[in-house]
């Protein structure tokens, strides 16, 4: 198992190297001159050229790429933001706690509400409860997140005056962003759980458990649910990896100073270091979450764990042979 983990970590590094090269190339070939963005057009061309020389933007492509890869992977230096004038890592870390708080609470709510709703709907299938959940899921998966967020603002801030419409400060500032960020995830989790439980509910081992006279609750939570949760965990893994980078829309609507806003300002301002740094960090988070999900699979399902172990053992045996 440890061998499997080490191999995945090595693969993660290779993925990050590829992402770094790709994002560097994409930004390199994008039209636009950072010197013009930073200095504007009301300064002489000589000043813009001086800035290009100072920042090394006139150097050959491979030299700039090599410099970038060396700084990032050997020194963990993502460079200084052109706009914010502080290191990208510092700017990112300042905003990360807020975004993580928003994201993790949302994932928690999506899990705690979505999964039980899905289980309940599956158990009471074809009843009003089940139909209601399906309608709810269809609506809130279809409705755009920003629209729902704005409607909440209109209702709770403008009409009722209960909650502040934007910014951060007290706990009241967090309510609407969290709800807006969670609602589609709740709908998705509920639907996925419902489908997964419906598949499992017809399995032989469930019939056997019932035939043995086990209480229904035990049948559901001890036997059915662990098997049904496997596909749901995949979705949860994706939601966790979206914790950091998937809140751009919500942060924009609520003027929330998080990582999403940081990245958006970087893209709008052609702030190359911020864009490169954020993309790389988000890629790393995503890759780590994928690994964690796979490991959790193995923990939940011994068959999958055995596959990992057997795969590694087979590889080792082939090499020895």
């Amino acid at each position: 198992m440890w061998r499997y983990i080490v191999k995945r970590l090595i693969a993660l590094v290779i993925v990050l190297l590829c992402v770094a090269v790709i994002i560097f190339c994409v930004l390199w070939f994008m039209p636009g001159d950072p010197a013009e963005i930073i200095l504007g057009m009301s300064v002489p061309e000589a000043d813009r050229e001086a800035l290009r020389i100072k920042m090394g933007w006139n150097d050959p492509f491979l030299l700039q790429l090599g410099r970038y890869m060396r700084d990032v992977f050997l020194h963990l230096d993502f460079g200084d933001s052109y706009q914010y004038k502080v290191p990208v890592s510092q700017g990112f870390m300042e905003r990360l706690p807020r975004t993580l708080t928003l994201g993790l609470i949302s994932v928690f709510i999506q899990t705690v509400i979505g999964i039980p709703l899905g289980v309940s709907a599956a158990i009471h299938r074809n009843t009003l409860q089940d139909q209601g959940l399906l309608v709810f899921a269809m609506v809130f998966i279809s409705v755009p997140q920003f629209w729902f967020a704005l409607m909440m603002v209109v209702l709770f801030s403008v009409k009722l005056g209960w909650l502040p419409p934007f910014g951060i400060g007290s706990w009241k500032h967090w309510i609407m962003p969290i709800i807006a960020n969670s609602i589609s995830g709740i709908a998705m989790n509920a639907r996925q759980t419902r489908s997964a439980v419906l598949e499992t509910i017809r399995s032989d081992f469930v019939t056997t458990a019932r035939a043995k006279g086990l209480p229904e609750g035990k049948v559901i939570y001890k036997h059915m649910l662990p098997n049904a949760l496997i596909p749901v965990i995949n979705g949860l893994g994706m939601q966790l990896s979206m914790c950091v980078g998937g809140t751009v829309v919500i942060e924009s609507v609520f003027s929330f100073p998080g990582v999403g806003n940081y990245m958006l300002n970087g893209i709008n301002g052609l702030d190359y270091p911020v864009v490169r740094g954020c993309v790389l960090i988000l890629a790393a988070v995503s890759a780590v979450m994928t690994l964690v999900v796979d490991l959790v699979y193995g923990f939940l399902d011994p068959r999958i764990k055995a596959q990992y172990v057997n795969y590694a053992a087979k590889k080792g045996a082939k090499k020895a042979a």
Partner: protein, 571 residues
């Protein structure tokens, strides 16, 4: 059947939710442009910066307003537009809303031997022909940390900005040094003769204490410590909070601050909100007290007939223009085709079609200019294609359509597609439609800000450009648009290579050459050769609370919320 019913129910709910999003506000939409223009005309008043500020003596407790996004709080940069800069920091001199320069940190009781903009400049001495300017500062200036500001701090501030930020017009500075505690010497390569030249030096650098800067730990990137009437409290990423500075140096020295330096609010909060919809919501919920800048009349109209607010407006210093690509790669290299295009554009129709709330511009510059500019020109008397009344061309009547046809016939145009480069496609789309009426085939090429300069740098990619430019005075606007120093190609940004025209512009930008005759000559040359035309200038709407008595603006029409005056609440 059940599934169908469930699907239908879901669709009905979604449609219902979408319909709930429709606002039944009284605001007119841009599509009913004439109504919006009339409605805003009835609901708003023009801001008049020549009227003296009415000092009520009342100190308001708290206000919150929206602002641009601040990415860094550094006091220096290419635009100095971090929210709160003008409240927390001060410069040697500043300009008022009418672009008149006045001493702030410079000692008004000394100097005065230098004549600038037709008047002695207090606090400054200069000997003709030396390129040396001595500025004297008060001896009683302290920053908000209690540090005494001396001439060496002034020199430090200027040298730091010069060495670390590129600032327009500073290339000729040789040195800035402190002669003693209250005298700063500016030495230039040559006399500063350009129009507004010293304004670009003296009014473009906030002064900080070198000790404060060094001890801050972050070079004042994450905090603000200056000499102004407001102190920085906090910045949480989306809001900057300022508090009245009880220890403001002018008050402690027994001086009477100018209206721009007054502190009539206890706490100011700048909220960084990007969308106008959010600003409207903020005003409706009370989270915002005022909005100093709505560019669309529709947005400001939301608060028409609302007792809590009043709407005022002022023309911005921005000019919207139409440039013709004079490069050989473009069909508009042909002067007859250029003239046909310019005569074909109906400015009044364009304004109506895009919201009706712009002000017509007769030349590539608005009349809200710097010293003397605004009093010289009767723009409506000058030929700008739309003001043509006939008679200039033999056999062609006063009807502009006939003039367009005449020039089209003279040109070598064969129906080639002309590309209109723009960032916002509204105006360009209307212009393309107007050109199509005369058989001129045009297509809009909208690009984002980052791609605009790259595209403009390739003359084969565009033929007409709808752009926007700003400047402190008219000659500076022209310099930005048609100076050749900034392009690096020896031609203007629209590929005009006309030494006579360039020389005229250089003359207009000198203190001695900045005359009515030269300015008119330059503009007439542009019209005769159809290089460019002015379209309109934007009006900006302010939604302010009804208890605000006087609105105070500073340099570049920057809104100064702390300096505004307020009516005391009724007992």
């Amino acid at each position: 059947m059940k599934k169908f019913l469930a699907l239908l129910l879901a669709l009905v709910m979604v449609a219902g939710l979408a319909a709930c999003g429709q606002q039944s506000a009284p605001a007119q939409s841009a599509s009913s442009a004439p109504n919006a223009a009339e409605a805003i005309q009835e609901s708003s008043t023009a801001l008049d910066n020549t009227v003296e500020v009415e000092n009520t003596g009342y100190i308001k407790d708290y206000i919150a307003l929206n602002s641009l996004v601040a990415t860094s709080l550094t006091p220096w940069g290419t635009s100095n537009d971090t929210p709160g800069n003008y409240e927390v920091y001060e410069m040697l001199y500043e300009c008022d809303a009418l672009s008149n320069i006045y001493p702030l940190l410079a000692d008004a009781n000394r100097g005065g031997s230098y004549i600038y903009q037709g008047k002695p400049l207090p606090g400054c001495d200069h000997e003709e022909g030396t390129g040396v300017y001595d500025v004297y500062i008060y001896d009683c200036i302290y920053d908000q940390k209690g540090e005494h500001i001396t001439a060496s701090d002034v020199a430090f501030s200027y040298n730091w900005q010069k060495d670390n930020e590129a600032v327009s017009g500073w290339n000729d500075i040789v040195s800035i040094e402190a002669l003693d505690d209250t005298t700063v010497r500016f030495t230039f390569n040559s006399e500063v003769n350009g129009v507004g030249g010293l304004t670009d030096i003296f009014c473009r650098c906030f002064i900080v204490s070198e000790k404060t800067f060094t001890e801050s730990g972050d070079q004042l990137v994450g905090q603000m410590i200056g000499t102004g009437p407001y102190k920085f409290v906090s910045f949480d990423g989306t809001a900057i909070t300022l508090k009245r500075n009880e220890d403001y140096w002018q008050l402690k020295a027994g001086m009477t601050p100018r209206p721009e330096q007054a502190a009539n609010v206890e706490t100011i909060v700048y909220r960084m909100i990007g969308e106008s919809a959010q600003v409207i919501i903020g005003l409706q919920t009370g989270d915002l007290t005022c909005c100093p800048e709505f560019n669309r009349a529709d947005d400001a109209l939301t608060f028409a007939n609302n007792d809590k607010f009043q709407i005022t407006y002022y023309p911005q210093k921005f000019v919207n223009y139409l440039n013709a690509n004079c490069d050989e790669a473009s069909p508009l290299h042909d002067i007859n085709l250029r003239k046909a295009v310019f005569y074909a554009v109906d400015i009044d129709g364009l304004i109506q079609a895009t919201g009706g709330t712009y002000e017509r511009l007769y030349a590539y510059a608005n009349y809200y200019g710097g010293y003397s500019d605004a009093t010289w020109f009767k723009w409506e008397d000058m030929d700008n294609y739309n003001t043509y009344t006939g008679g200039a061309i033999e056999g062609v009547g006063a009807n502009r359509a006939e003039v367009v046809k005449y020039y089209l016939d003279q040109s070598s145009y064969n129906g080639e597609k002309l590309y209109i480069l723009c960032q916002s496609s509204d105006e360009a789309t209307v212009i393309a439609g107007q050109l199509a009426q005369y058989g001129i085939n045009a297509e809009v090429k909208a690009v984002d800000r980052t791609s605009a300069r790259t595209t403009q740098g390739d003359p084969s990619q565009w033929d007409l450009e709808v752009g926007m430019m700003a400047g402190d005075n008219i000659a500076v606007v022209w310099e930005h648009g048609f100076g050749t120093a900034n392009t690096g190609t020896g031609k203007t940004s629209n590929y005009v290579s006309d030494p006579e025209w360039n020389d005229l512009l250089a003359l207009c930008n000198t203190a001695d050459g900045h005359t009515k005759e030269n300015m008119e000559a330059w503009w007439q040359h542009a019209v005769d050769n159809a290089y460019t035309m002015g379209l309109f200038t934007t009006k900006t709407y302010m939604v302010i609370p009804s208890d605000m008595v006087s609105v105070v603006q500073g340099d570049k029409l920057t809104f100064l919320p702390g300096a505004c005056t307020w009516a005391a609440p009724e007992a």
